[in-house]
Each structure stands twice: as structure tokens, then as C-alpha cells.
């Protein structure tokens, strides 16, 4: 369970930084960070719910029979890049979202939650339906955590926080407290 929490938290933290702190990596540019976070969350949800089942099929019906399981990480990354590219094409049509395509593509491929989901499939899941469930689950929990962190940061922008802690230091501490809160779920699913 804690490995699942770990990949989720790191993905949320990096995506949050990309959204609010690294101009080059901002996947969308709208007037409020919350809208960016919603669009990125939707993109990641779409990506995981597509990639995880595909990776399950790829693994069980292609790699296993051909005994090339060692290719799994490489092909999964390529698979993710493919799906990320498709999502990028779909998102580009919606000029309302005004995507910064390259940043979106980079964020989707580099997102540890998506790659983590595919690599966790073998140890977590027996049937195809379960893999869809895992993909959706990870995508949804990523979305909720990202939205929570973004709105929390928006609210903290005007608090009387010590100057040396404003911005990134406090975001890291908040992520620490989030990790503490999520520790409650350890042991929920057998490790």
C-alpha cells in the first residue's frame, strides 16, 4: 500500500510544481491555477484509465507468451508516450484549454503515477477488469489530491507566512503532512 501512496504523492507534488512554479512546464495557461489543475487532472485520469488496461493486455497476451518479460518497462514507457501523444492531439483541438502541448506531453510521460500504475499491475491485479479499476482509481486519487493541493496553496497565498517559508518550502511541508494523513491507509491492502 505504501508504495502506491508514494508514487501518487510524488506524482502530485511534481505536477503541482509544474502547474504553479515552472513557467516552461505549465501545461495550460489560464487565469487561475485551479482551472489548469482541473485540466491536467482530467488529462492524467484519461491517460491512466487507458494505459493501465492496455499494459495489462500487452503484458499478458504479448510479452508473457513470447517470454520477453524483461522488455516490460521499456515497452510500457513507449506505450505511455503513444497514449500521451493521442491525448495531446485531442486536447489541442480544444483551444479553450489553450494547451502548451510539449509541456503536457512531457508531464504525461514523466508522471510517475501513470508509469507506476502500469508497473504495479502484475503484483496487484489478476483480471482485466481489475486493471481498469486500478487505472481509474489511481487517476481519480491523483486528480483529487492535485486539486486539493492547488486550492490549498491558493488559500495559503495570502496568509501571514514567514517569508523564508513562503512558496516551495511550505508546499513540501504540506506534502509531508499529506503523506502523514495518507499513512492511515497503510495496511488497507495487503502489501
Amino acid at each position: 500500500m505504501s508504495s502506491l501512496l508514494l508514487i501518487l504523492l510524488s506524482a502530485v507534488l511534481i505536477s503541482h510544481f509544474a502547474l504553479t512554479r515552472v513557467p516552461a512546464l505549465r501545461p495550460f495557461a489560464s487565469t487561475s491555477p485551479f482551472d489548469d489543475a482541473v485540466r491536467l487532472a482530467i488529462a492524467v485520469l484519461a491517460c491512466t484509465s487507458v494505459v493501465t488496461p492496455l499494459s495489462y493486455l500487452l503484458r499478458n497476451h504479448v510479452l508473457q507468451p513470447l517470454h520477453v518479460l524483461y522488455l516490460q518497462p521499456l515497452l510500457f514507457v513507449v506505450l505511455i508516450m503513444l497514449v500521451a501523444q493521442l491525448i495531446r492531439l485531442v486536447v489541442e483541438q480544444r483551444t479553450l484549454w489553450a494547451p502548451n502541448a510539449t509541456a503536457l506531453f512531457a508531464l504525461l510521460t514523466g508522471n510517475s503515477a501513470i508509469l507506476g500504475a502500469t508497473l504495479l499491475v502484475p503484483s496487484r491485479v489478476e483480471t482485466f477488469i481489475d486493471s481498469i479499476g486500478l487505472g481509474l482509481g489511481i487517476g481519480l486519487s491523483f486528480a483529487v489530491l492535485l486539486l486539493c493541493l492547488t486550492t490549498l496553496e491558493q488559500r495559503m497565498r495570502h496568509a501571514a507566512i514567514a517569508v523564508s517559508f513562503r512558496g516551495t518550502p511550505l508546499a513540501l511541508i504540506t506534502a509531508g503532512v499529506m503523506a502523514l494523513a495518507l499513512m492511515g491507509f497503510t495496511g488497507l491492502i495487503a502489501e
Binding site: T20, P23, R26, A29, S30, T31, S32, P33, V62, L66, V68, L71, L74, L75, V78, L79, M81, L82, Q85, L86, R88, L89, E92, T95, A98, P99, N100, A101
Partner: protein, 171 residues
């Protein structure tokens, strides 16, 4: 071993084709368009650019900073800061002061000589009149950009607070 190589090559080819097909970069215009939506459209030129759209283009290309727009005031500077992910800076007084409440220009009809200079200067065609005829300003369309005050030879245009009825109360 052979199957692995074939498999990897197949995947790489699929990826390459998809990547190639979508290599065109999204035109930057959408960013200019979105900046222009935020600006107050008074076309007053106080930001040293010829209007809101030129200022938006300069912002998109990074040639201008976000605190050049007095009519937009604090709100526009804050929204631009979020949009372009730059630190928020209040409006720089050298470009002008945000008026306490919305103002409109007003022609003193007893002194107007009908020279149409202000009509040519008005960026939003809010002044009605013809040469040698009386001029007047449509209060509802005047954005208070003060561009008509300078060209007037007899200096008969002054600024007045906008009437409550002209302000749109309903959202």
C-alpha cells in the same frame, strides 16, 4: 531475442509516425487572444502601445511587463500575473493613475468649433459630429481614455464621473 527486437522496432515505428503527424506547434495567437480578453479594452495607449491588442502581443512576446495598464488597475495586473506566471506588481504610476471611479469625457458645447480632431483621435468612435457641426460624446461608449483631450484646439473637453445609470449594475 529476435522477437524482442521486432517488437521494439514495431512500437518505435508506431510512435514515430504519431509524433511526426502532430509536429506543428500551436500558434502563439491563442496566448495573445487570452491576454487581450483580460485587458480592459479602453485602447488608451497609456501603456506606450497603440492599443490593448498591441500591448497583449508585447506581453506575449515578453517585451512588456504586466504593470503598464492603469485603467485595468490592480485587478488586471493580478490576473495577468497569474496568466503569465510572473510575480504580481502593482500598476506603475509613471503610466498613469487608476481613476478613483469610472470617468467619461464631456464636450463643452458652448466652446466646440467642430474641427473633428477629437473624432479622429477617439479609438472607439464614441464622438458624434462632423466638420463645422456640433460634436458630442456618447457617454455609454466612452472608455475614459483621455485621448481626445489633447488634440482639441479650444480645450473644450473635460472629464466627468460616469453617471450611475451608465454603470452596468447587473452582472
Amino acid at each position: 531475442m529476435l522477437t524482442a527486437a521486432l517488437l521494439a522496432a514495431g512500437f518505435a515505428a508506431a510512435l514515430a509516425s504519431v509524433l511526426a503527424r502532430s509536429s506543428r506547434v500551436v500558434p502563439r495567437s491563442t496566448l495573445i487572444e487570452r491576454i487581450n480578453d483580460v485587458l480592459p479594452q479602453t485602447q488608451c495607449g497609456r501603456c506606450t502601445f497603440a492599443g490593448c491588442k498591441p500591448y497583449a502581443t508585447a506581453l506575449a512576446e515578453g517585451r512588456a511587463d504586466i504593470n503598464h495598464c492603469p485603467p485595468g488597475g490592480d485587478t488586471t495586473a493580478r490576473t495577468l500575473a497569474t496568466l503569465l506566471d510572473r510575480p504580481y506588481k502593482p500598476v506603475d504610476p509613471q503610466f498613469g493613475i487608476t481613476p478613483a471611479q469610472p470617468v467619461v469625457a464631456w464636450v463643452d458645447e458652448s466652446r466646440c468649433i467642430g474641427c473633428t480632431k477629437c473624432i479622429q483621435a477617439c479609438p472607439v468612435d464614441a464622438i458624434v459630429g462632423a466638420s463645422k457641426f456640433m460634436h458630442t460624446i456618447i457617454a455609454a461608449q466612452c472608455t475614459g481614455c483621455e485621448l481626445c483631450i489633447a488634440p482639441c484646439p479650444v480645450d473644450c473637453i473635460e472629464l466627468r464621473p460616469a453617471q450611475a445609470s451608465q454603470l452596468s449594475l447587473s452582472s
